[in-house]
């Protein structure tokens, strides 16, 4: 992705949020709006994103793992499921996730956020939110809340506000597409703002040059969205996770994982697909890249320049209050 493309996504995200804000601040009823009103879909998705009722026992919401304060990751190696089932993979950040396809660490078939949402909600490999086979229960819970009934009707009038996995996933996807972050020091420098520090600038040259990082961490989102195997990856991983091969069934896909974005990487430790690297330096070393301390420090300074803390405290992503967004 080019910087120009990233800018387009950023503007699109802002437009959706601005539209949502205008509608919601005005406090108007939206039931009569045009079908598929994006502002209401975003508001609904945000409320769902923070709601523990999307998990079997009410303990996990999307935000439990994708915590805005951790740049929509969660700071642990692999989050346990709703009943304490051992987690398998490190929670990826959702920053700029609307620009990504495929999604997640190891499934080329998950090409949209709508498809992806059902993996944590109803997936079994591993169990996360534990709602497989409980679509009716989800509808029962959400329907008991008058605000949800209004929001679903306003967001999806073409189905008369039917509450099911599909409409829930669609709303979650609408919200996630608004999680846009392009306000890092690197963005500002790239668009004529203050230049990067000397160390960060040198780190970027190394990143794009001799260190070879940009071969996979490419473009404005620092990912090629492709699946790769690290040179030192074990043939038999301790947690039994064979990466892309879990879904493709192909031996040659063993150990291949999708390149993660490096946006806000300083805020999303631990690293790698299993969260086994506690620091950026350790993660770099696991790539089989030998750097002297000065070069490592420079690349780390560059990666720090990809940090946008504003996204972690933006009230538009926070858990909504009890007041319903629609009247």
């Amino acid at each position: 992705m080019t910087i120009k493309q990233a800018g387009t996504i950023k503007r699109a995200g802002r437009w959706v949020l601005a539209c949502a804000s205008l509608t919601l601040v005005a406090g108007v009823g939206v039931a009569g709006n045009t079908p598929g009103d994006p502002a209401v879909q975003v508001a609904l998705g945000r409320r769902l994103f923070h709601d523990g009722d999307l998990s079997v026992n009410g303990t996990l919401s999307c935000a439990t793992c994708h915590d805005p304060r951790h740049s929509f990751a969660d700071g642990v190696a692999a989050h346990p499921g709703a009943h304490g089932e051992p987690g398998l993979r490190n929670v990826p950040s959702l920053v700029n996730v609307g620009a990504f396809s495929p999604l997640t660490w190891g499934n080329a078939a998950l090409t949209s956020l709508e498809l992806q949402a059902l993996v944590p909600i109803a997936g079994e490999d591993p169990v996360e939110m534990g709602m497989k086979g409980r679509e009716a229960e989800l509808a029962r819970r959400l329907s008991a809340n008058p605000c949800y009934r209004k929001l679903f009707k306003a967001a999806y009038p073409q189905t008369r506000g039917r509450i099911d996995f599909a409409s829930t996933a669609a709303a979650l996807a609408a919200f996630q597409r608004t999680i846009v972050s392009h306000e890092a020091a690197w963005d500002r420098a790239a668009t004529g703002g203050p230049a990067l520090s000397a160390a960060a600038a040198r780190g970027e040259r190394l990143f794009r040059g001799s260190a070879g990082c940009a071969a996979c961490h490419a473009g404005g989102e620092f990912t090629d969205l492709s699946f790769h195997r690290l040179a030192g990856a074990p043939e038999a991983p301790a947690n039994g996770d064979f990466g892309l091969a879990r879904t493709s069934g192909r031996i040659e896909d063993r150990g291949r994982f999708r390149t993660p974005s490096l946006r806000n990487v300083a805020l999303t430790a631990p690293y790698l697909h299993d969260g086994s690297a506690g620091t950026v330096a350790e993660a770099i070393a696991r790539h089989g890249i030998a750097l002297d301390p000065a070069d490592l420090s420079a690349i780390t300074a560059f990666l720090d320049a990809l940090t946008d803390t504003a996204v972690t405290t933006d009230p538009r992503y926070a858990r909504p209050g009890p007041a319903c967004e629609v009247s």
Binding site: G52, G58, T64, R69, D74, H83, G84
Partner: protein, 177 residues
Amino acid sequence: MLRNLGGFFLALAIPSVGFAAEPMAGHDQAACAAPAAVPAGLAGWSVAHAKVKAAVKPTVAGKALLAQGVAADAALSPTPKVAYAIEPGKPGGSVSYGGLFAFDVVQAGRYRIAQSGRSWVDVVVDGKAVASVAHGHGPDCSGIAKMVEYDLPAGHHLLQIAANGEPGLTVMVAPVR
């Protein structure tokens, strides 16, 4: 950052309320054949537990008093019935469980909230959530799934439990020695 403390692990927390009770990817208790011994600081976990019914509003939390160093098998209430003093960091859904407890701190210092589940924990002092200083899981096979530590002043304090998956939870407050 980890520090090994008698066979269990505590991650030192960023001093922020927002990180007060992060869930930990700990040991799978289901894989245990028998309960494991616990260090001296958690000895109350291994002896007879008290029984307590969690309060559903702060004004009656004193009736759900947790004694220091005594594990209590607590009966929680459905989340919609609980009126918290402050909004929990992660409140849980309508089908989760929660409740309120009180406990006394005679001497200011570091105290640990240990629990059998992974519920969200807030310690409320003077109407505000106290930032945790460490969090982690208990010794493997001890039945302690999660622990959070706080530096607390002397006084009568409020403990909020939220987003628990079951109506029962064993919880213990104990000084960190």
